[in-house]
């Protein structure tokens, strides 16, 4: 189902004339803002739980990436396949994972998406058309290409979308996956979330060209360079790419520029990021920019925005309570599920 035909995502009280140049209206922007705010609130809570020793393992955040997560996933239809990375939990939320699901996942609970078999953002769920990421970034670009290959062979009209950082653009799978998708004109979209640092490594040690999107020309595919902190820009570019893919036009490489507003993970204070980059990043906080858009367009009042924030906080409070009360797996469940029947 495409966004434009999805009744749940449209405001029944709105006329078509109330939609903007992207075909989006007040209800759509509420969902986008809500998703971005939920990502921010959820991950802040995850960090806090980590510091409090209530969370085993690692804690990752996509602070600064919220517009990419929400704007891209919102451009998908129901049958499309999300092949996410660790900074787009908002995309998980839009595809059907709830805050409860993801908190159970973070806390290793038996009722989380991986039943405790894997942690944090490393989860998939075929009910929601989400492929689980592995830590070897770039490895799922070939997988997304294969998902798209199946769609092309079957002619089911679905599109796969996957993500990588600028750091992961250096690995061979980036080339193999994108080239394969290009050669077979597969319905795939690859978004490079260029947040300026791969862990601690700056872009000048990752690539020598001006823009990663310049590679699109080399692969013979469409490419676009966008402001990844602008949810409208992300939606617009993704929607165009998804439409092109669905029409048989092949893959698109989107480079979405943003700033990673925190360290690589909770343990990392990002001391190596120059102060001016971090300041500039926070001055372009995608969540605040979306909020300002909603206010400028008078979609919502400040009070209504505050109410959304409270609503989101309540969702996260509930998710933590729910997850902490959920059962841990029994130890011997470690033996289960190695093979499919």
């Amino acid at each position: 189902m495409n966004v434009e035909t999805a009744p749940a995502l449209s405001d029944p009280d709105l006329n078509e004339s109330d939609l903007d140049d992207l075909g989006l209206g007040r209800a759509d922007y509420r969902i986008l803002y809500h998703t971005m705010r939920l990502q921010r609130e959820f991950e802040e809570r995850v960090y806090r739980l980590f510091r409090q020793g209530r969370l085993a393992g690692a804690a990752y955040a996509g602070a600064g990436h919220e517009a990419i997560a929400a704007g891209s996933a919102y451009a998908l239809g129901d049958a499309d396949i999300l092949v996410p990375m660790h900074r787009v939990i908002g995309a998980h939320f839009l595809r059907g994972h709830t805050a409860r699901d993801m908190m159970c996942q973070y806390l290793g609970r038996a009722n989380g998406p991986t039943a405790g078999k894997d942690g944090n953002m490393h989860c998939g769920n075929w009910d929601h058309h989400i492929v689980g990421m592995i830590s070897h970034l770039g490895a799922n670009i070939p997988v997304a290409a294969g998902v798209a290959l199946a769609s092309k062979i079957r002619g089911d009209g679905a599109v796969s979308i996957t993500y990588i950082g600028e750091g992961g653009s250096s690995i061979g799978d980036f080339h193999e996956g994108l080239n394969f998708a290009a050669v077979h004109r597969l319905p795939m979209v690859l978004i490079v979330e260029n947040n300026k640092f791969a862990y601690s490594t700056p872009t000048r040690y990752e690539y020598a060209c001006d823009n990663i999107v310049d590679r699109a020309q080399g692969y013979g595919i469409a490419g676009s360079l966008i402001d990844g902190t602008d949810v409208r820009a992300v939606y617009k570019a993704t929607r165009a790419a998804v439409d092109l893919a669905r029409e048989g036009g092949g893959p698109t490489l989107i480079e979405a520029r943003c700033t990673r507003l925190l360290g690589h993970a909770q343990h990392d204070d990002a001391f190596y990021v120059p102060k001016e980059i971090m300041e500039d990043g926070w001055n372009n906080d995608p969540v605040v920019k979306c909020e300002n858009l909603l206010l400028e367009r008078k979609y919502f009042t400040r009070d209504e925005i505050d109410a959304i924030k409270e609503e989101v906080k309540g969702i996260v409070d509930d998710a933590v309570d729910y997850a902490e009360q959920s059962p841990l797996p029994e130890p011997e469940e470690a033996l289960e599920g190695v093979y499919a029947d």
Binding site: I134, P142, A144, A145, E176, N179
Partner: protein
């Protein structure tokens, strides 16, 4: 039906599965118009079309990774490594992605990786290897290595119908091996993954082996039979999972074990068999478990070097004599 070769049996099995199930498709290098480096898919492009016989770029990681993606979507891809040696380029997709997916989030990954393996005479270090042991320690993968024409077809069918990633090691030296040409059933049949087969019954010693070494082992057993020694030859057929019970039963009967494989010795699959027998059948042993394998070097090119490297009938016979003399 006239006798067919091991190669023809694999080709027929693949063809029948593609005819039986529309979700089966092939992805590999030069498998289309060329019909594959060894001609397993000869004629397939004309018969099944380019949506189902897909020539891949020279890029094993995307061949396996894309197969995994298609498998998640409910397809049953059969990938071809042009030579088993090249599977290293797709290692991560197999061991970290495909193998762990079902355990991690419950999605089945029914894919087959066909691996033409083994030494066939002076092909050097990169077209001769037997890399199966690298994958036998990866939970989530299955590994099979048929030795007979009947098994090649039956195990390929089982591999394609299995809901897990299966590595199918087909020894290149068996492809056109005249000795194993045989009539195989016209009707559909499968060989179950995980079951060994006794190729020769015996009471004095057991050889556990697989792949082309089955025949060197049978020949060695034949030689010693002339001297009054009856050797049991157990063909594992599957390495992961492997038929532990069959191994233990044979050892409990013969009390002596020689493990033979063409892969190199150290870290080879024979170590696992020796360990499990030491662990679970120690009191049935009349001699230490012996292993015969290739020497611990890359596969050398020049004829005398390669001959020195590889196990053969003479070496198996020698090892068997030593085992019996203990």
């Amino acid at each position: 039906m006239p006798p067919v070769t091991y190669l023809e049996a694999i080709s027929a099995g693949l063809r029948e599965e593609m005819e039986r199930d529309e979700s089966v498709f092939c992805l590999g290098e030069d498998i289309g118009v060329y019909g594959g480096a060894f001609k397993i898919t000869k004629g397939f492009l004309d018969d099944f079309g380019e949506d189902r016989i897909i020539d891949a770029p020279v890029a094993e990681s995307v061949i396996i990774g894309a197969a995994m993606g298609a498998a998640l979507m409910g397809m049953r891809p059969v990938t071809e490594m042009q030579f088993a040696d090249f599977i290293t380029c797709g290692f991560n997709q197999l061991v970290n992605n495909a193998a762990k997916t079902h355990y991690r989030w419950g999605a089945a990954v029914p894919l087959v990786v066909r691996c033409p393996s083994g030494a066939i005479g002076n092909a050097g270090p990169f077209h001769s290897q037997n890399p199966e042991a690298w994958f036998c320690k990866v939970p989530g993968l299955k590994v099979v290595a048929p030795a007979t024409t009947y098994d090649a077809k039956g195990l390929l069918k089982s591999s394609i119908r299995d809901n897990n990633p299966v590595l199918f090691f087909e020894h290149k030296g068996l492809y056109r091996f005249p000795r194993i040409r045989e009539e195989i059933p016209v009707e559909d049949y499968t060989v179950p993954i995980g079951e060994a087969a006794i190729r020769r019954e015996g009471s004095d010693a057991t050889i556990v082996t697989y792949g082309k070494m089955v025949f060197h082992s049978l020949d060695a057993a034949e030689t010693l039979a002339g001297e009054g020694v009856e050797t049991e030859v157990l063909d594992l057929r599957s390495l992961l999972p492997y038929d532990k019970q069959a191994i233990l039963e044979s050892v409990r009967k013969t009390n002596r074990l020689l493990v033979v494989h063409e892969d190199t010795l150290t870290g080879g699959f024979g170590g696992e068999i020796a360990a499990v027998v030491a662990d679970e059948a120690f009191e049935h042993l009349d001699a230490p478990v012996r292993r015969l394998a290739a020497i611990d070097t890359p596969v050398p090119f020049s004829p005398p070097l390669e001959e020195y490297f590889l196990p053969n009938t003479e070496k198996v016979t020698g090892a068997l004599r030593e085992l019996l003399a203990y």
